[in-house]
């Protein structure tokens, strides 16, 4: 099965190389950008702690904003948590992680992972439909938004098809699934998927600034 061997052999290696190089370049570029020092007198100490606190506090909206942001938040949390459960809880994925890192843990029950995958797919579809239909999201969206959505959704779809043995032989479906993950890795550093790393920097930065001021973060 040449395709499967390529997908998890050379294909994966190429993907990981591009992923790592792109990631390093993007982060190095950011870190090399001049840092501006805030010379104002801080109202209070603990700005670094405030920055770290903000990384966590922004996981949940402040109460006054919750009602108007509810739909987007629920959809986003559903697929983000779903993707984490699938990737870190699925037995084949843990075996994959163990194969290059040596780390392993007990998998979640197969049925939980499968149901989660179905719910995640539904949430991803809801997210893209909402993006197309909501006037604000539609206006903001560009190629990166839709392509990143596609590149995130494909591994979920192909994974479900592989598990259900629908459409082709298992080996073919598995190869396509791994290739879709390879594609995910290749695209990761170049588009908005990088938000999963940059989010820590942007939240921290704002947290530091406003903690200095004694303002709410």
């Amino acid at each position: 099965m040449e395709l499967l061997e390529f997908a998890r052999g050379d294909g994966l290696q190429i993907a990981v190389t591009i992923f790592a190089a792109g990631l390093i370049w993007r982060l190095v570029h950011l870190l090399m950008t001049l840092k501006k020092t805030d010379l104002s007198e801080a109202r209070q100490a603990g700005e670094k702690a405030g920055g770290i606190r903000t990384i966590f506090s922004r996981f949940l909206h402040h109460e006054p904003f919750r009602e108007r942001t509810r739909n987007g938040t629920i959809i986003a949390y559903t697929f983000h948590i779903g993707l984490a459960i699938i990737f870190f809880g699925g037995a084949p994925h843990i075996l994959f992680i163990e194969s290059f890192s040596g780390l392993a843990w007990s998998p979640m029950p197969t049925v939980v992972v499968h149901v989660t995958a179905a719910v995640t797919l539904a949430a991803l579809i809801a997210a893209v439909v909402r993006r197309m239909r909501h006037p604000v999201l539609n206006m903001l969206s560009n190629f990166d938004d839709y392509f990143s959505w596609l590149i995130t959704t494909l591994p979920v779809i192909t994974g479900l098809l592989a598990v259900a043995h629908i459409g082709a032989r298992y080996e073919v479906l598995l190869a396509i699934h791994i290739l879709s993950f390879d594609a995910f890795l290749i695209w990761f550093p170049f588009g908005k998927l990088m938000h999963s790393i940059i989010v820590f920097g942007s939240r921290y930065t704002t947290g530091v600034t406003f903690t200095r001021r004694g303002a709410r973060v």
Partner: protein, 451 residues
């Protein structure tokens, strides 16, 4: 008479002080080719790119949640008022010119060059429909401080000569005359003397040495002069060594609001130099939101080193002296609500200070919903109140404020920002509304217990 005064006479008979509404729209300054205009906008925007701004530019996931926190979007439902959209052309420029993959964006034209038509279109979004109130910054799941980025985008717009006519004229007047509203040093001194008589107190002017330098806003000097008398009465009651200085008495900073960094620095340095000259240990800023941000949080950057004195908004100063027991006030039997100036509370961290003062006054405080750090902006900040063409939109967003206030059932509305107050008074006149916004500072002065 200089050009600004000749071309843009003051509008003295309106609730809102500003310049006479121009007969035609002039939103381009200078006679320069379009390409040069674009180049200047981009070069000056690029000057502000540092690790913080680059991180913000890279972080947006286009979730659109900032729209739900913005009074302009909430009140109109128009997606163009989505806060992060207001930065779209600057994000485009960042990606093309300064991002990690900028060469690819340029090589394959993946991000197009900015056009002057785009910048003209964005003028309304950067100036007319953003008060830099920072609600969007507080809701952003990525933690992007959008309000700060809008302020930086204005730097490029100013250099490109793409500032709304009225705001540019007001800023130019402030730079040339020392006040956006004609409150020159001699006008200020005259009005301060008048207030000294009215309040039966002494006003200190140009004392050689003083512990406290006090600055006022032009809006107070020209429209709410009782603030001068109130400030003097309180400082005299405390026995403070204080002074106004004619070389640095005006705290508003339309250089900052219009986007001209040189003017911002010049305006800030007047106060810093005055404080250094008289050896002040503390600069007390007036009831003005953006004046607080300009000196308290941006002043040191203009100075190039930490400020050699402390800076307090008048509400912080009052909170300190009433809570320490140095200033005694009578109890006030009033039901009030409080409008938080965005730059003092949400953006400035002094949310609790006015509440300490109101507690000392014993007023029955009926908080708005939402309040404090989540307060809705009055709609007039960020220089928006000067822009005539933005009036209709400003009144629309003010309806939010009216609803909030009506729902409290309070008799009196207090605030600690004269710009909010004039925006409020102007909208009050527009809507024939019976509510009046009053100054917390003046309420304190009116209820002083003086030995």
């Amino acid at each position: 008479m200089n050009e600004a005064v000749e071309n843009h006479p003051l509008e003295m008979d309106k609730e809102r002080f500003g310049i006479k509404e121009p007969g035609a729209r002039y939103d381009l300054q200078g006679d320069i080719p379009n390409e040069e205009r674009v180049r200047k906008a981009m070069v000056n925007f690029a000057k502000d790119i540092n690790r913080t701004t680059a991180t913000y530019m890279e972080a947006c996931v286009h979730c659109g949640q900032c729209a739900e926190a913005c009074h302009y979007y909430v009140q109109t439902g128009d997606p163009k008022y989505t806060p992060i959209w207001k930065l779209e052309v600057f994000k485009q420029a960042y990606k093309r010119e300064a991002s990690p993959f900028a060469p690819f964006y340029r090589m394959f034209n993946l991000k197009k060059k900015i056009s002057v038509e785009q910048l003209e279109e964005w003028q309304e979004l950067i100036y007319d429909s953003c008060t830099m109130c920072g609600r969007c910054s507080l809701v952003c799941p990525m933690g992007i401080d959008i309000a700060t980025l809008v302020g930086l985008a204005r730097h490029g717009m100013f250099k490109a000569g793409l500032v709304p006519h009225e705001l540019h004229a007001v800023a130019e007047r402030a730079e040339q005359e020392g006040s956006p509203l004609g409150a020159t040093a001699s006008v200020f001194e005259d009005r301060a003397d008048w207030m000294a008589d009215e309040h039966d107190t002494d006003v200190n002017f140009d004392k050689e040495k003083a512990d406290i330098l006090v600055a006022m806003s032009s809006i107070e000097i020209m429209k709410y002069p009782n603030s001068i008398g109130a400030t003097a009465r309180i400082l005299n009651a405390l026995g403070e060594s204080w002074t106004f200085r004619s070389e640095g008495y005006e705290a508003t900073n339309f250089g900052m609001l219009s986007g001209n960094v040189e003017w911002q620095k010049h305006m800030t340095m007047k106060i810093i130099d005055a404080a250094v000259k008289c050896g002040a240990k503390l600069v007390v800023l007036p009831e003005c939101g953006h004046a607080y941000g300009a000196l308290r949080w941006q002043g040191a950057a203009m100075y190039g080193k930490p400020l050699p004195f402390k800076v307090q908004h008048i509400s912080e100063f009052l909170a300190d002296v009433v809570s320490s027991g140095r200033l005694k006030v009578k109890k006030v039997n009033q039901t009030v609500t409080f409008h938080d100036p965005c730059q003092v509370s949400r953006r400035g961290g002094a949310t609790n200070a006015p509440r300490v003062v109101m507690e000392a006054l014993g007023v029955d405080l009926k908080e708005m919903t939402p309040t404090g750090d989540f307060n809705w902006c009055c709609g007039g900040g960020g220089g928006v109140v000067t822009i005539h063409r933005a009036d209709k939109l400003r009144y629309k967003v003010f309806e939010l404020k009216m609803d909030q206030i009506e729902n409290t059932g309070a008799d009196t509305v207090l605030s600690t920002c004269s710009n909010c107050r004039q925006s409020f008074n102007d909208a009050q006149q527009h809507f024939n509304w019976d509510k009046n916004m009053e100054s917390l500072l003046e309420l304190v002065a009116d209820n002083l217990i003086e030995d």
